[in-house]
Amino acid sequence: MPFYVSPEQQMKDKADYARKGIARGRSVVVLQYEDGILFVADNPSRALHKISEIYDRIAFAAVGKYNEFENLRLGGVRYADVNGYQYDRRDVTARGLANVYAQSLGTIFTETNKPYEVELVVAEVGESADLDQIYRLTFDGSVADEHGFLAMGGQADAVSQALKERFREGLPLAEALRVAVRSLEAQDSERRLEARSLEVAVLDRNREHRLFRRLAEARVSALLSEEPGAAAAEDEDEGSSES
């Protein structure tokens, strides 16, 4: 290396690089609702998922570079399945997984030239809303414990602000989805999101065994067109929405 670069400058450059990469994409929103945790991504692709199942009660959401967070997702599925197989299904926790991700991201950030341009959420739905766990992990391996709602990727600040104005605790699914979509539209002024360009999934604590469920496009548009306030007809039918 021809010139001396101070560690501070080096870290700052890497962080700026990662932040820029993450801000280039579109946003993902995670929020708690009446029956669990809702994930909504502004993602028109049916094949490349930003939201995925990790284990019985745990899901994964990510923004940034696809190949990088996909690698982390695949590793997370392995971590969960190995632990669930060797101990018990109940012994797989979001906290453990968040730690593994934090270690890996931290190592990559400090020891390689190019940091991962990703931001992740690892969420675990509990028996009740106050036992839900939502961890946000950033490119340098920092972990934050979140409550209620969060937005990441793209114009995350604008979306967060919009969420903050609309979010209430214990919203029914249709309303929570509307809050999420309207907030995602705050990415830029002309944005109008329809079911076709959304990836939506829930961790529903009222389901059995594997609580993760993707919501199919038809279901999402039905929920979005429900009259605000007329959410009394909360049907259980999430139907054939398996990916």
Partner: protein, 282 residues
């Protein structure tokens, strides 16, 4: 895809090679001792008799699905090791697995197979075809060949609903990993010759789901009638066979009350005719 974190990450193996969506293959590289069939066994021929063995499993297809059932007995030599063991399990949403042979290894194989299917589904975003599932199981049985040669054999039976062809399918295995698709019905385990004879007479191509379950309970009764290692319905303790159906609606284990009612009606019928229902002679 080898990742950079494989160099210094806390759990290097997790994110790197082998690049596979098979849980068994990954576990074999990550923690080889955790797989059945990879363990070093003492070189003695005796002793296997004293380890609990599971016995009779039956399965029958009906239009739109398949029913699988197993008795509840495990034996160690001539002793009943357990009278309420379960040998029929959900493999995934559209398939079931049951085991006969060395119980401990069979249960481990079942757990591994369940994770194998779920692992693939989560990593690939799609479920395996029914043949794909049956082939994976064959490979796992083959991995146990060494132990089978020393007397610790386990033989599974696999049944599932084929979403493409809209019908139930049954696969059987031999200890060397041979995979055979069965038509109509099949039985495995020590009581299987008696159960198979019974099913041969009771099978119809147009069985309803409920009658298919009844055929299974009848066949298990006949197996228990003639095989000491197969347990019959235990009315005094309320221990009945495990019966599960797989249809387009997915895997469903019949409730205790449903199976209890079937088992009671079978026992009731045998007071009149101990040999069970008879087939027309011509």
């Amino acid at each position: 895809m080898a990742s950079q974190d494989a160099v210094g990450g806390r759990l290097p193996g997790l994110f790197g090679s082998p690049d596979t969506s098979s849980f068994t293959e990954f576990l074999g590289a990550y923690s080889p001792d955790a797989l059945p069939g990879r363990r070093v066994l003492p070189q003695v021929a005796a002793g296997a008799e004293e380890i609990p063995h599971g016995t009779t499993i039956v399965a029958v297809t009906f239009p739109g699905g398949v029913v699988m059932a197993g008795d509840r007995r495990a034996t160690a030599g001539h002793v009943i090791a357990q009278r309420d063991i379960e040998k029929v399990f959900r493999a995934d949403e559209f398939s079931a697995i049951a085991i006969a042979g060395t119980a401990g290894i069979g249960l481990e194989l079942t757990r591994l197979f369940q994770v194998e299917l779920e692992h693939y589904e989560k990593r690939e975003g799609r479920t395996l075809s029914i043949e794909g599932k049956a082939n994976r199981l064959a490979a796992m049985v083959r991995g146990n060949l060494g132990m089978a040669m020393q007397g610790l054999a386990v033989v599974p039976m696999f049944a599932g609903y084929d979403e493409v062809e809209d019908r139930g399918r049954i696969f059987s295995y031999d200890p060397a990993g041979g995979r055979y698709e069965e038509r109509e019905f099949h039985t495995i385990g020590s009581g299987s010759p008696f159960a198979r004879g019974s099913m041969k007479k009771l099978f119809r191509a147009d069985l309803s789901a409920e009658d298919a379950a009844l055929v299974c309970v009848q066949a298990l009764y006949d197996a228990a009638d003639d095989d000491s290692a197969t347990g019959g319905p235990d009315l005094t303790r309320g221990i009945f066979p495990v019966v599960a159906s797989v249809t387009a609606d997915g895997y469903r284990r019949l409730g205790e009350d449903e199976v209890g009612a079937l088992a009671r009606s079978v026992v009731e019928g045998r007071y009149e005719a101990p040999g069970g229902p008879t087939a027309p002679l011509r």
